[in-house]
Symmetry: C2
Subunit: 325 residues, 2 copies
């Protein structure tokens, strides 16, 4: 049967974007008799919650992962808890690491990998190493009390290589550190083309510390807007320690911030040489004290252009994080 | 059994990044007797190809999707074709659309959605509408001859809303159009924070037409580096047609390019008002003829910050694409 409230909600979502609801969306407002709506705050198609007979519970979700995940978190989990469907809690905490490989991390925490409750399991994705600590308990509090001592011990063992937990990102951690110090940041980007600024601004409220920057993809922009010395650029090449440091200084001066990060590298697939292979990246940093420094990275060029660019941006955030600590 | 060639390859991949192979990686060099290596050009762990008895073929892949996909494409598919495991070809072509919703697109091509060979199926992701045309045939050529007339008819029906096929992206299509004209592009980004430049530079060789830009997240950068009029900024607000147009002009002037795109908007979750809701975005364009223009967009703010930022960057590319056509 068609639910008039759902129909009104779907039509309102189209109207709010200045669109008319196409007739085909009308079928999203149909529900089985006796079912209730599982609201979708991120899209038009709602889900349903339906108990057609005792001990049988059906929930449906739209196919878009982002919408499904939000609906599960916001409505399904509280529903299951409130209606007695939850008898045991499995709780996980993810510890996040940068600047260390998954296998090197796993060797350092080897003594924890054979625990049974909590379990500790290593993961890796996008250059990041992770450890998932998972505990079973009668309640959230019981599970948490099993996780916490292990988390504390691993953090002590791993030091600053562990940058955060769960929903933390390098961008959010750097943002918190800058906010605490009331300091500001600019960027100068060559091979990442804006990817570092994009990562920094994924964080809501980042305008408090991130002012912006200059995307200097062409060498003319490095010289004209970042005031990189054309003679140095010609002699050392765009991918060099000297140019990375001048780019950072140029962004700091042009924007008037406390800190500036720069990235210049060879993302590939073309442009590499025997002395400057694909994957070679210099990251520069200009500090509030007036220092300029740079670090040389060699990322795995065979993993492709996206990989080199992504790791460059994360590594720049990590370099600043370690200087802020 | 340990395969010495694999071990040498894994060690070389670590050495090329200035690292020593951890002992735990050694197990990646073990193969079942009689199996051959399925090479992994993107990572260290290889797969295997093993026919332990007739009519039984096993292939293994590492769990990283990027590595698995490259291995499937580069080695597994040719192997299956060469060894008589392929008896029928299923071929798909994806048509890509921007500026039209999935449901509106589906209504315009309704007459094609009931075909049986090829089939035509609508999809949507990240604001993009897509149509997958899939044909079965005895060979690639036979399947292709079924796809082509349907593809041609749909393209004629949909006009410029169809921006490309298969691996095309808005960034690659805009890049091809700029390259054909030997013209250059700069960007000025506020709410996207570098995301538009990042998209443009996903394309290898984009340095031929993309020179860079200015990330003007803070208003001071809009005034100082993009020469936005401080009086206009104060009167109209940063998210306005006038500021979008001045930002585009400022980027074009500062970098000396033929075209410039600008983005200024309210990504949320905070910062919205009744007259300027979260999701309101102005995209500006400065053209080689000296024109300045802007377009107002209202994206679905309830879908979140990432959604608004992503659609802003893609919409900017689409605006330029339509002006280049």
């Amino acid at each position: 049967m068609e639910d008039p409230d759902i129909l009104v909600d779907i039509e309102a979502k189209f109207t709010s974007r200045g669109r008319v609801m196409p007739p085909s969306n009308r079928k999203q407002a149909f529900l089985p008799k006796g079912a209730t709506v599982l609201p979708n705050n991120q899209g038009t198609a709602p889900g349903i919650i339906w108990e057609p007979r005792p001990n049988l519970l059906l929930m449906t979700f739209p196919g878009v992962p982002r919408e499904m995940e939000a609906m599960w978190r916001e409505t399904s989990v509280p529903y299951l808890q409130d209606h007695g469907w939850v008898h045991e809690t499995i709780l996980s905490r993810m510890l996040r690491f940068w600047g260390i490989s998954e296998s090197a991390m796993a060797e350092r925490v080897a003594e924890y990998l054979n625990l049974s409750n909590p379990t500790v399991a290593p993961y890796a994705s996008h250059g990041e190493a992770k450890l998932r600590i998972t505990a079973k308990g009668a309640s959230t509090a019981a599970a948490l009390s099993l996780i916490e001592p292990v988390e504390k011990a691993i953090k002590a063992l791993m030091g600053t290589d562990c940058y955060g937990v769960d929903g933390d990102s390098l961008a959010s951690v750097v943002g918190s550190l800058l906010s605490q110090r009331q300091q500001t940041l600019a960027v100068a980007e060559s091979c990442t083309g804006g990817g570092l600024g994009h990562l920094l601004t994924t964080i809501a409220g980042s305008s408090a510390y991130f002012w912006g920057g200059i995307i200097a993809y062409d060498n003319s922009v490095k010289v004209n807007l970042l005031k990189v010395d054309a003679v140095v650029l010609e002699r050392e090449g765009a991918v060099s320690a000297a140019v990375a440091e001048q780019m950072a200084q140029g962004a700091k001066d042009a924007l008037g911030t406390d800190w500036a990060l720069s990235i210049t590298g060879i993302a590939g697939p073309e442009g590499g040489s025997s002395t400057k292979p694909v994957g070679l990246v210099y990251i520069g940093l200009a500090t509030p004290a007036g220092e300029r420094l740079s670090v040389r990275y060699e990322f795995a060029g065979f993993r492709g252009r996206d990989w080199v660019r992504e790791l460059s941006a994360y590594s720049a955030l990590d370099l600043l994080r370690r200087h802020l600590l």
